[in-house]
C-alpha cells in the first residue's frame, strides 16, 4: 500500500506540472483554434527567468515570480504580434510551423543567455518531505497542486463573470460574428497568447524547484503537456487538469508495475488511444476546427 501511495504521489507531482502546461495549450486553442508548439519553451523560459531573478539577482520570491510571468507573457505577445500576425494567408500548417520555428528560436536564445548547463532552484517553502502513510511528498508538490487549482478557478471566473472573458469565448465561437458585434477580435487573440504564455511561465516557475532547468527542458515537457491536453479534451480547463493528473499517475504506475523504459511512451500511447477511441478527449465536447 505504501508503494502504491508513493507512486500516486510522484504521479500527482508530475501530473500537476503537465496539467499547468496543458492549460496553456487548452486556453490558446479555445480562444484561437491554434496549437502553439512553443508552449514547452515558454515553460522553460519561465523556469530559467525565475532562477536568474530569484537566485541570481537575489530578488524576493514573489517579485521574481511576477517578473518571470510578465516577461514570458511579453514573449508570447511578441510572438503573436511579430510572427503570427504578419502572415497574410494564415493556413493552419503555416502557423504551426511558425510556432515550431519559434520553439527552436527560444531554445537558441536560452542556450546563449543561460548556457548549456542545467540549473536548480530552491523550494518555495521547505525541502523537508512530508510523510503521509509511509509515502513522502515534497511541499513543493502541494504548491503546484494549489496553484493549478487556483488557475482553473481563475479561468472559470474569467470566462463566466468578466466581460473580457465572455468576449474571448465569443471570438472562439465565431470570430467574424464577434467582430461584427464590436468585440476587438484581434486584441482577443493577443490576450489569449499573453495569457497562455503566462500560464506556461507559471508552470515553469512551479517546476523549477522540483527539477533541473536547462535550455532544452521544454521539448519533452511541451509534448507531454500537449498529450495531457488532448487526453482531457482540448479547450476544456478541467479536461487539462484531469488529463495532466491522469497522465502523471499512469506514468508512475507504468514505471512501478511494468518497466521504466516505457515511461515516456505512456504519454504518446495515451494520445493514440484517446484519438482512436474518443478524439475530443475525456471532457472535450467543443467543436474541433479542421486543419
Amino acid at each position: 500500500m505504501q508503494e502504491f501511495l508513493q507512486y500516486v504521489f510522484s504521479g500527482v507531482t508530475n501530473g500537476a506540472v503537465y496539467a499547468v502546461i496543458a492549460l496553456g495549450f487548452s486556453m490558446l486553442y479555445r480562444a484561437t483554434g491554434l496549437i502553439n508548439f512553443a508552449q514547452g519553451e515558454l515553460v522553460m523560459l519561465g523556469a530559467l527567468c525565475l532562477i536568474s531573478l530569484w537566485q541570481g539577482l537575489g530578488l524576493s520570491l514573489v517579485l521574481s515570480i511576477v517578473l518571470s510571468v510578465g516577461i514570458v507573457s511579453g514573449v508570447g505577445i511578441a510572438l503573436e504580434r511579430l510572427a503570427m500576425r504578419q502572415v497574410r494567408k494564415p493556413h493552419p500548417i503555416v502557423l504551426v510551423i511558425i510556432t515550431v520555428g519559434a520553439s527552436i528560436f527560444f531554445r537558441g536564445i536560452a542556450m546563449i543567455l543561460w548556457g548549456k548547463d542545467a540549473r536548480s532552484a530552491g523550494p518555495f517553502s521547505s525541502n523537508v518531505p512530508l510523510e503521509i502513510a509511509g509515502a513522502t511528498l515534497l511541499p513543493q508538490s502541494l504548491w503546484v497542486l494549489a496553484i493549478m487549482l487556483g488557475i482553473v478557478a481563475a479561468l472559470h471566473l474569467f470566462y463566466r463573470k468578466t466581460l473580457t472573458g465572455k468576449a474571448m469565448e465569443a471570438c472562439a465561437i465565431n470570430k467574424k460574428a464577434a467582430w461584427l458585434l464590436g468585440v476587438p477580435s484581434d486584441r482577443m487573440v493577443l490576450l489569449a497568447f499573453a495569457l497562455s504564455a503566462g500560464m506556461g511561465a507559471v508552470g515553469g516557475v512551479l517546476i523549477a524547484p522540483i527539477t533541473m532547468s536547462s535550455y532544452d527542458m521544454g521539448t519533452l515537457l511541451g509534448l507531454k503537456g500537449f498529450c495531457a491536453a488532448m487526453l482531457g479534451g482540448l479547450g476544456s480547463s478541467w479536461g487539462s487538469v484531469l488529463g495532466g493528473l491522469l497522465l502523471g499517475i499512469l506514468e508512475a504506475l507504468g514505471v512501478g508495475f511494468f518497466s521504466s523504459a516505457l515511461k515516456d511512451a505512456i504519454a504518446f500511447m495515451l494520445l493514440l488511444f484517446i484519438l482512436y477511441v474518443r478524439p475530443t478527449g475525456i471532457l472535450g465536447a467543443r467543436a474541433v476546427h479542421r486543419f
Binding site: 513522502t136 517546476i207 532544452d216 506514468e251 508512475a252 514505471v255 512501478g256 515511461k263
Partner: protein, 386 residues
C-alpha cells in the same frame, strides 16, 4: 676576424641579426602537422565536448611553444558533432578528404565514435576517441584508440569498494542513453564475479524531472545500496529524490557526474554520495608519491588560468590524446602508418586520466589506477583511502 671597413661590418652584423630574427619569428620552415578534432561542442553532450576542445587547443599551444614536433608546428582543425553520429560521419570525412589531417582526436561520446570507426579503418587514419564505450577498443581495431576510462573500470572500482563495505544486494538506476546502457551492461555483467546481486534494475530518461517512481520500485526489493549511472542533470534529480524519500542505504554514482556541476545541482542531497573518479578531482589530496599528481596540478593550473573556469575530468581525455599523439608523431614525418605503429608503442605515459600503456592488443591503455573512490563531504570531494 674584424672587418676593416666598419660599414661592411655593420651591414654584416645587421644582416646576421635580420637573418636570425627571420629564422626565429618564422620559426617554421616545415609543414604543419594537421590534427583533426571532432567533439560534441554543442548539444546534449556539450559538457564533454566543450572542455575537450579547450584542452586540445591548450595542448597544441603548449607543444607549439616548445617548438612543435621535429620542427613541425601543430595545426588543429576542430568540428562540432553535436553528439550526432551523422554529423560526426560528415565531419570526419571532411577532416580526412578536405582538410587532409594525419590523425583525429575524438569524438566525445560513443555512438558517434562507433559511426566513424569504419571510416578511420577504411581511410587508414589514426583515431583517438574520447568516449567511454568499451566496444570502441574491444575488440581491438588497428586504427582506433581511446583515452577515456572504460566504464568497466569504473564499475570494478565501485564493486571493490562495496565488497569492503560488505554490501551484497544492490538496485541500479541507469539513464536511457549509450552511457547508461553501457553502465548497466557492466554492472550486471561484473556483479556475479564480485559477489554482488542486482536485485532491481530501473531506467530513467535523461531529461526526466522525477525518479521517485523508479526509486520506489527499487526500495521494494530492499537492496543494501543503490547505484545510479548517468550524466548531469538526471543523477542530481535522483540524489534529491533519494533524500526526499529518506532512503537510508548508500548511494553510488558513476564517474559521469565527476564535475563540480553535480554538487551545485544536487545541493545538500549530494552529501555522502560515493563515486569513482579520475584523480583530477582530488589532485591536491593525492600523496606526493603518486606519479600523476604533478601532471594533474599543472594541467589544472594551466586550464583554469587560461579559461577562467574550473576543470572537469572530461577535458583531460583530449589533453592526454594530444600528448600521446605528440609522442607518436616523433620521427614519422606525418606518415599515418608510422603514427599508428608508434601509438601502440607508447607506454608509461603519465596523463591526466591515468597512466597509459598501449600495445598491439591494448588500445585503451588504462588500468585500475585510473580511478579512485571519493565521497562528497561538506560539498567537496574527499579522497577515500584505497
Amino acid at each position: 676576424m674584424i672587418p676593416r671597413n666598419s660599414k661592411i661590418g655593420k651591414a654584416l652584423i645587421l644582416g646576421g641579426m635580420v637573418l636570425l630574427l627571420l629564422a626565429s619569428s618564422v620559426g617554421w620552415c616545415k609543414e604543419p602537422y594537421k590534427i583533426g578534432g571532432v567533439f560534441s561542442i554543442t548539444g546534449p553532450n556539450s559538457f564533454l565536448g566543450d572542455p575537450e576542445k579547450k584542452s586540445l587547443e591548450m595542448a597544441v599551444e603548449e607543444i607549439n611553444a616548445k617548438g612543435g614536433i621535429d620542427g613541425h608546428p601543430l595545426q588543429v582543425i576542430i568540428y562540432d558533432t553535436e553528439g550526432d553520429p551523422t554529423k560526426a560521419v560528415l565531419a570526419v570525412n571532411k577532416l580526412i578528404s578536405r582538410d587532409q589531417v594525419i590523425a583525429i582526436i575524438g569524438p566525445s561520446n560513443t555512438p558517434p565514435t562507433l559511426a566513424v570507426v569504419p571510416i578511420a579503418e577504411k581511410e587508414k587514419v589514426p583515431l583517438i576517441s574520447c568516449a567511454a564505450g568499451i566496444k570502441i577498443t574491444d575488440p581491438v581495431k588497428p586504427w582506433v584508440f581511446k583515452t577515456a576510462q572504460t566504464d568497466a573500470l569504473a564499475v570494478a572500482a565501485i564493486y571493490a569498494h562495496m565488497k569492503k563495505q560488505n554490501l551484497k544486494k544492490i538496485g541500479i538506476l541507469t539513464v536511457e542513453n549509450a552511457f547508461g546502457e553501457s553502465g548497466k551492461e557492466q554492472l550486471t555483467g561484473q556483479a556475479a564475479a564480485a559477489g554482488i546481486q542486482v536485485v532491481q534494475g530501473e531506467t530513467f530518461g535523461a531529461k526526466d524531472t522525477d525518479m521517485t517512481a523508479q526509486l520506489t520500485k527499487i526500495r521494494t526489493a530492499q537492496p543494501d545500496a543503490v547505484v545510479c549511472w548517468g550524466t548531469n542533470p538526471g543523477p542530481a534529480v535522483v540524489s534529491k529524490n533519494v533524500k526526499q524519500m529518506n532512503l537510508k542505504m548508500p548511494l553510488y554514482q558513476s564517474h559521469g557526474v565527476a564535475s563540480p556541476k553535480f554538487i551545485e545541482l544536487a545541493g545538500d542531497a549530494a552529501e555522502g554520495i560515493l563515486l569513482p573518479t579520475g584523480k583530477i578531482l582530488v589532485a591536491k589530496q593525492l600523496p606526493d608519491s603518486d606519479p600523476q599528481k604533478a601532471v594533474l596540478l599543472r594541467y589544472i593550473e594551466d586550464y583554469e588560468k587560461r579559461y577562467q573556469t574550473p576543470v572537469s575530468g572530461f577535458g583531460g581525455y583530449a589533453y592526454d590524446a594530444m600528448q600521446i599523439l605528440a609522442k607518436a608523431l616523433r620521427g614519422t614525418e606525418g606518415d599515418k602508418a608510422k603514427i599508428r605503429d608508434n601509438l601502440e608503442k607508447v607506454t608509461g605515459h603519465v596523463g591526466v586520466s591515468g597512466t597509459f600503456n598501449f600495445s598491439a592488443t591494448e588500445h585503451n591503455g588504462l588500468g585500475p589506477d585510473a580511478f579512485v573512490m571519493v565521497q562528497i563531504q561538506g560539498g567537496a570531494w574527499k579522497l577515500l583511502a584505497p
